[in-house]
Symmetry: C2
Subunit: 238 residues, 2 copies
DNA sequence: TGCGCGTTTTGACATTCGTCAACGCCCGGG
DNA sequence: CCCGGGCGTTGACGAATGTCAAAACGCGCA
């Protein structure tokens, strides 16, 4: 919840303070924003937002990884996005959200009621601009993922996925300008990897073992991946 | 190009004036915007923007239909979006565009240099807000298309596609509050339908004839579709 | 250390969709 | 009116991926 008075706010100590959409707000603005938001811990597997529900809240991710999913009535699931620290989640300026948001790892978020946030955003063009830039970038990423879903085969999907994970998880890493991660812990189960790539769990598993047998990657444990031959992975990604 | 002086501008006669992001601008603002933009006709098949090129221009669609595509080096193509009248195309606030934009029909657009537009937008929060709302809506649509690409089979894809076309093309139609179109002309060739759905042209063709044989749709000509049994189509869409 | 359960892997088989090839239809030009 | 070319359709076949089932693994816990 953070202190109040004397300009103290939990934003002061926020680790994503300079990367989230709040970056660029001055202390006064930050204080008003802080007044309408609150920290919340989410445990792995817990839902924050439900598909087709009224859009009641939006949030910044402070720590952890969350999935955005859509489902069919008969239970098929597609992961349509993944949110990392400093990412913004939820659907501002709209009545319903088109995707569920579920924590993949224990996570910490900074939540706002959508109404409060909408009002605040409309009064702060700089914040809206940050949100616009972020949304445009997310749309770009989403479109390139459509290419993967519609036109790539299982091998290309897995290779592309591993390269993207390696990039995305490096950004979160502590070492400065570390480049893509060579070894990392997947925040996804095999089923979740399948749900990202539009495959079945069996196909994912077979592709992983194939890449392992061909010494392109190593799998030290279920959740860990080490990239042994990045250039091979790049050419497999197509 | 439209007249100048005395506040006259081509915006005055623009058919998408009240639906595009320019809606809500006052006359003065419209005049400055008009000063940095110009009308341009694009013939069917012509490109307006190239994937991975520097993002040099953005535009409003006035008339016609355009496709947004991404391609792999080996020539596979995925249509990642379709732009209709009043839609905004191009990548503001970014160095490169992630998709090509090609006219499917003869089209008319209102183009701006990206630099001019970026500068103008940053000075007009109301315009940026409209653009944000539009981008958020487009992201929603794109995500629900990911579900289709990743998890639906050929029949479901075709049914979903036909229903979406029927909705989207109705909006453009002249009759007020007409509801979804029962009969319409596809702006896509069979190959382009395949590129939207992540299928091959042969699979698309077979699904079309199957639906025709089952009296769910009729195909009066190559480019025309008539929906005979909408509820059947809805249940096939899954 | 050993047990038990959920996850992952592996195998055998089925199905869908893609590939390749031939044919047919429509439309425009001579 | 007829021809030609592009686009669309149809058929036969094969490969990639999904499905179902069983075994193996690994992790927490007793």
């Amino acid at each position: 919840m953070g202190g109040s008075g004397k300009g103290m706010s939990s934003c002061d100590t926020c680790v994503v303070r300079n990367r989230a959409i709040c970056a660029g707000l001055n202390n006064l603005e930050l204080e008003t924003l802080n007044a309408i938001g609150r920290r919340r811990n989410v445990t792995a597997g817990e839902s924050l937002i439900w598909e087709d529900d009224d859009s009641l809240l939006v949030a910044n991710v402070i720590e952890g990884v969350l999935k955005l999913t859509t489902s069919t009535e008969d239970g098929r699931e597609q992961i349509v996005g993944v949110a990392y620290p400093s990412d913004f989640i939820g659907r501002p300026f709209g009545q319903t959200s088109s995707a569920s948001v579920v924590a993949l790892t224990d996570a910490r978020v900074c939540v706002f009621s959508r109404n409060d946030f909408d009002r605040y955003a409309r009064e702060h063009p700089e914040l809206e601009h940050k949100l616009l830039e972020r949304t445009l970038a997310e749309l770009d990423r989403t479109r390139s993922w459509m290419m993967l879903l519609g036109r790539k085969n299982a091998t290309e999907k897995i290779a592309t996925f591993l390269l993207e994970m390696s990039d995305r998880l490096a950004e979160t890493g502590c070492s400065p300008v570390s480049g893509p991660a060579r070894r990392f812990a997947l925040p996804f189960s095999r089923q979740q990897v399948a749900d990202v790539l539009g495959l079945t769990i069996e196909t994912v598993s077979r592709q992983f073992t194939r890449l392992k047998n061909e010494r392109v990657i190593d799998l030290p444990s279920r959740r860990e991946v080490e990239i042994l031959d990045r250039s091979a992975l790049i050419s497999l990604a197509g």
